[in-house]
């Protein structure tokens, strides 16, 4: 399977179309300038602001491919951000980052344990952490908004590598690592097999329990990383609002990326592409001067259209139509 599968064309065209609309709305959209050794511009902004959701989508797509779902990623963002922010000024940055990622690891293990070992429905299992996680995050920050000034940690949000913003580099790196691990081995195929038919895969020798735990752990790790970026971006952690409703954006990104909520085939690149589509829409609405409140309505419309396009009933209809026309042609 190549990196960009053939079926990804609609998503890439959609992204290009939305970027083109953004260009119509704001003539400076594609302008780039170099300032203090970092690229600036609306296009860079789309990638930069889209980074947290792109990271979440990267983990979420694997979970959804196994026919699961992870509602707790927003709460994990809040927890990891809270930990990173409260350790940033008293400890070296590797300690803060490791602690935040460690928390993500624990959250993932918890979710994976509930889903794989106890056999609880994924929506319900991750709902527990979604509800309790934000409380835990507030426990860590003691209900305050914790701010920090450690430049090392702030780099994760505002730094740059050869002019490219750090969050974009992190997403690219994670995409590469995930792609190599999943597609470089047979792991991706096994994940798709599990999503397609868990019982059949288990009978044919796939260790689905271990794999499901691993997938949830990876998802939470991605979320923890997104939490560090989000905290670094505002130089603080707000347990109430960090990552609020981002799980929905992440699921949306995965769905836009063409992965079915019923599991099975998935594409990492297209999930990230879905996240960029969402962000490009947000940025476009902001640039056009419409109130940001429009965001939600537009998002709802996009979800519906994408879902209708993916709906088995509708594809059955178009399939039947196509069959009818070919029959008619054959008869003529």
């Amino acid at each position: 399977m190549s990196l960009v599968p053939r079926r990804g064309l609609p998503q890439i065209l959609a992204l290009i179309a939305i970027l083109a609309i953004d260009r119509l709305v704001s003539t400076q959209f594609f302008d780039l300038r170099l300032q203090d050794g970092r690229l600036f511009g609306s296009l860079v902004d789309v990638f930069n602001r889209g980074a947290p959701v792109a990271l979440l989508a990267l983990g979420m797509v694997l979970v959804i491919a196994t026919r699961g779902i992870d509602l707790s990623v927003g709460a994990v963002i809040a927890i990891s951000g809270a930990i990173a922010a409260s350790l940033a000024d008293t400890h070296a940055w590797p300690v803060a980052v490791a602690a935040a990622l460690g928390a993500g690891l624990l959250c993932g293990l918890w979710n994976g344990f509930l889903v794989a070992v106890l056999g609880i429905q994924p929506i319900v299992a991750t709902l527990i952490l979604m509800v309790a996680g934000r409380g835990v995050a507030q426990l860590i920050t003691e209900g305050r908004i914790v701010t920090f000034t450690s430049p090392d940690l702030i780099w994760f949000g505002t730094g740059s590598v050869f002019g490219v913003p750090a969050p974009v580099v992190i997403v690219a790196g994670m995409l590469l690592v995930t792609g190599l691990v999943v597609r470089g081995s047979s792991l991706g195929l096994l994940i798709e097999a599990t999503g397609g038919n868990p019982r059949a895969s288990e009978l044919s020798g796939v260790g689905i329990k271990m794999m499901i735990v691993a997938v949830y752990v990876w998802c939470s790790l991605c979320a923890a990383l997104a939490g560090i970026i989000a905290a670094a971006d505002i130089m603080g952690a707000d347990a109430n609002n960090a990552g609020l409703w981002l799980e929905l954006d992440a699921i949306l990104a995965v769905v836009i990326g063409g992965t079915s909520l019923f599991g099975g085939r998935f594409s990492l690149v297209l999930a990230v592409c879905g996240a960029l589509i969402i962000q490009a829409m947000n940025t476009g609405i902001l640039l056009s001067g419409y109130p940001p409140e429009f965001n939600l309505v537009v998002k709802a419309a996009v979800v519906l259209v994408v879902l209708l396009l993916q709906s088995p009933r509708l594809s059955g209809l178009t399939g039947a139509l196509r069959k009818a026309t070919t029959l008619r042609k054959a008869r003529a």
């Binding site: 929905l248 939600l296 309505v297």
Partner: protein, 327 residues
Amino acid sequence: MMRVSPVLVTALVFVAGFAICASQFPNFASTRVVANLLTDNAFLGVVATGMTFVIISGGIDLSVGSVIGFATVFVALTTERMGLPPLAAFAILLLLCAGFGAAMGAVIHFFDMPPFIVTLAGMFLVRGTSFLMSTESTPITAPFYVAVSDWGLALPGGGRLTAIALIMLCVVALGSILLHFTRFGTSVYALGGNRTAAALMGVPIGSMTVRIYMLSSVLAGIAGIVFSFYTAAGYSLSAVGVELDTIAAVVIGGTLLTGGQGSTVGTFIGVLIQGLIQTYINFDGTLSSWWTKIATGILLFLFIGLQQGMLKLATRSRARQAGVAKP
């Protein structure tokens, strides 16, 4: 056959929790506290009753929180800016909600899409619409509102059973009758138990799905009205995240999230348990309100674990009855 009813467990948890609270705070066991418990959670009780139907039928409705927010904004704007009498505003609002719920149910049924994602889109749509209508908090000053808020049944011991608490109790009672004593209710259970079997038995799946989501949205609309009585204001950000509290209340109330089993009474007690945790934290004064979330999470985990264990036991005993040896 010995079977522990999940509702009984929920009720025991509530009684035990109440006893603990009452033993720590001497003034806790009073009609005043109980009446406040009902008033403060009135909107949650109403919306959770609707969610119970949806979840028993095997679905989920994430849009209820946004519908509550929309309802408060709609009522505030129509009564304050357009001068509509509140009762007319309520009628229009409930019609809108019914239409919205029916549309979601229709999309779920006719396009064969997961309820989770359809109602998620509905949640975005409704929240976005209420943002577009107003982003500010609009106070409601209609005399009708003042009259309703002032009204209350005096209970012995200083408690006041408010109008909104009564609305909630009525909704729970009517919901129980609808669920347990009508053809509609039986069909809801059948749908959640096994969709194919229900269809083969002649349950009209399509119209049932539409009606169930309609019911949930209308009850969310009523919950919004109750919420607007409670706060006397319309605000597009109100009731954010209430869908989670609602689902939690339903699960704690012993309803199976896979559908087919549950009750409105259990949900009602689930709502009260959440309210009890909040009240305890208010009484204590040193605990912070985020403990509510953690405690709710722990309770959720315990109840889901209990359900899972009971399901396993049930399938094992069924297998034994059928003479199937477990491999």
